[in-house]
């Protein structure tokens, strides 16, 4: 029994709207799992089901090996942190932190011990006597995390905890959450639609679409070997370039260019060939000095240039398809220039245009 949370054949319908269907997900003890997906795909719904805030239509949920499908939220051994912080406005920070413990009728000295421990970890001791209204966004979010912390639970649930904060604070708190995870070593399930958060925090990412998990894998795997078109398109910014062509005799034929696929690891047997989509990340298209390692090369005309400081993005057309290329930030190019580009087929992804699955 190495799983902290197991979700088995979970269905959740709101009336006729089937939000989650036959969802299965096993989360290891101590794992940091990120649920990533576009708005409305059912991330919060799944989290609320795990927390017991929504009654499931069918299926089972196990936490720490116990079947908690019918258990109250407070009995499940979970702590939850919400996007809007959801602090009790009439209570002080201390009152907020201790509310759950008081409901559990815990002895007074134990409560104060736990509150001060959590306040210590989150560095909010000076704020304990204040009301939430007198706190900054970052401080409020820390209190919200503290509320889960004092309850000494095994599983933390975060529903977009940072999306109400500005970019700088978000980055800071992201690091803090990561540190907290290393320190506490408990299981964390984290909902976000921010890719950077997902990539930096997660041990594994579950990419969701319309209530189904499209891929569950490490950030590295998801980035490098997306299992289908949706995942490939969703992860990465700017997103992957997709070129339509054909596989024939171990080569990808793209509008007159022949790309040898030697070195590409096929996910399935696809020796028979046929129509295919070649996915190339903008940052995997090589230019300038890096061209040496490219096995496939061609020349394109620059149409648009977006200097972004650390790197420069150029827009161009390859084989009738609009593509993005990420170049070095120091590159001096202007629209109309001819640029030689190249890539390594083993870093590309191939997809079946019918099933949209990885080849």
């Amino acid at each position: 029994m190495n799983y902290a949370v197991e979700i088995k054949d979970l269905d959740l319908y709101f009336g006729n709207v089937k939000v989650l269907q036959q969802l299965n997900l096993d989360i290891y003890k101590g794992e940091f799992l990120v649920l990533l997906g576009s708005s409305g795909c059912g991330k919060s719904t799944l989290l609320n089901c795990i927390a017991g805030l929504l009654e499931v239509t069918d299926g089972q949920i196990f936490i720490g090996g116990n079947n908690v499908t019918w258990a109250q939220p407070s009995e499940r051994g979970i702590g939850m942190v919400f996007q809007s912080y959801a602090l009790y406005p009439q209570m002080t920070v201390e009152g907020n932190l201790s509310f759950g413990l008081r409901n559990a009728r815990m002895p007074r000295d134990e409560i104060s011990k736990r509150v001060s421990r959590a306040a210590g970890i989150l560095q909010i001791e000076p704020l304990l006597k204040r009301k939430p209204a007198a706190l900054s966004g970052g401080q409020r979010q820390r209190v919200a995390i503290g509320r889960a912390l004092v309850r000494d639970v095994d599983v933390f649930l975060f529903d977009e905890p940072l999306s109400n904060l500005d970019a700088k604070l978000r980055a800071d708190l992201r690091v803090e959450i990561k540190k907290l995870h290393e320190q506490l070593d408990n299981t964390m399930i984290y909902v976000t639609h921010d890719q950077i958060e997902a990539m930096t925090l997660a041990d594994r990412i579950a990419i969701m679409k319309e209530g189904k998990i499209m891929q569950l894998a490490s950030p590295n795997e998801i980035y490098n070997r997306p299992r289908n078109l949706y995942v490939a398109d969703f992860i990465g910014s700017p997103s992957m370039n997709f070129l339509h062509g054909e596989i024939k005799d171990g080569n990808f034929l793209l509008d007159g260019i022949t790309i040898p696929l030697k070195g590409y690891e096929f996910a399935a047997d696809s020796s028979q060939g046929g129509k295919a989509i070649l996915g190339l990340r903008p940052e995997h298209i090589l230019t300038g000095d890096n061209l040496a390692s490219a096995t496939v090369r061609t020349t394109v005309t620059v149409e648009l240039v977006e200097p972004m400081g650390s790197d420069t993005l150029i827009y161009s057309t390859l084989a009738g398809t609009f593509i993005h290329v990420r170049m070095d930030g120091q590159a001096r190019v202007s629209p109309g220039d001819k640029v030689e580009i190249g890539f390594q087929p083993e870093r590309a992804s191939l997809f079946d245009p019918e099933t949209e699955d990885r080849l």
Partner: protein, 309 residues
């Protein structure tokens, strides 16, 4: 070239040019202001004059009232009409003034307001946060209920009260007011509780608070403004009620509004305008006071409740 222009502009102090600078000056006697304040003044006078006439008349003796100068201030201020209205004016057969009606009204209003507000707040909370089975049906019925004209229900309720032996008693009227206030009050509370962030409720559930725990310790402290609104609504509504009062109570338990009506409409002897005016003001004083007192509370409640987080 453009670069240098930008950098010099930043480093040197900018020199002002002719033309508008700072806030736009506003004339006190602009045409707009005259129109606005003029209109407001006229409206204020329009509403204030009847009140003025009432107060002035209630402070005059009958000889002075008969002189007919309703706008002139009293030559000789007397509080006799007020005393008479309170304790001696005749309401039908008895001549004990408004005092009896006043205490009846207090005994009707206080329990009705408290009971209906408590029940409606719990109803509203349950409807907004605990989506129990049939909640929608219940809510629809409730909304429907708030549109039923009272006249339709007058007689059935008489029978109902008679059957349970409360017809003509204060307790019966308290029940009637509580029930009739329920749809609109529940609606009010439900909408308020729905407007509170749902995540707060979820957080409280994760923290192990139950139905009453969440209501009393999380929701109630945030609901002072809506309680103020509900209480204002109920107090003014019930205090000013005439119809239910006259239908469901007997002469000993008539509320103040009915007593007032009996004083003003009594047909024997001369019409004592000064006493009538005093009686009317006394009757209206209670909702007026409530309005001012809880109006303040209302504002403070909003300020206390307007906490995001």
């Amino acid at each position: 070239m453009a670069d240098t222009a930008v950098s010099t502009n930043v480093s040197s102090t900018a020199s002002l040019r002719d033309g508008p600078r700072g806030p736009k000056p506003r004339r006190t006697f602009s045409r707009r202001n005259i129109l606005l304040y003029g209109t407001l003044f006229v409206i204020a006078v329009y509403y204030a004059i009847p009140l003025y006439v009432m107060i002035v008349t209630s402070l005059k003796g009958m000889p002075e009232v008969r002189m007919g100068n309703i706008f002139s201030p009293p030559l000789e201020i007397t509080f006799a009409p007020w005393v008479k209205a309170w304790s001696q004016a005749c309401t039908g057969l008895t001549c004990k003034g408004l005092s009896i009606g006043f205490w009846n009204s207090v005994r009707i209003t206080v329990p009705s307001v408290i009971i209906s507000t408590i029940i409606a707040s719990v109803n509203g909370y349950a409807l907004a946060n605990w989506r129990f089975k049939g909640a929608n049906v219940f809510f629809t019925i409730l909304i429907f209920g708030s549109f039923i004209p009272y006249q339709v229900l007058l007689y059935p309720v008489v029978i109902l009260l008679r059957e349970i032996g409360l017809y003509g008693k204060l307790a019966g009227l308290v029940i009637v007011h509580t029930i009739f206030g329920m749809p609109i009050l529940t609606l009010l509370f439900r909408n308020y509780f729905s407007s509170l962030p749902e995540e707060l409720f979820k957080a409280a559930r994760v923290d192990g608070a139950g139905f009453w725990g969440i209501f009393l310790r999380v929701m109630l402290p945030m609901s002072i403004p809506i309680f103020a609104v509900a209480i204002i609504l109920q107090v003014t509504g019930i205090w000013n009620d005439f119809l239910f009062g006259v239908v469901y109570t007997g002469p000993e338990s008539y509320p103040m509004t009915v007593a007032l009506n009996n004083i003003v409409n009594s047909t024997q002897g001369v019409v004592e305008y000064n006493v009538n005016m005093a009686a009317t003001i006394i009757t209206g004083l209670v909702p007026l006071t409530i309005y001012f007192v809880s109006g303040k509370l209302f504002v403070r409640g909003i300020a206390a409740g307007a906490v995001k987080g």
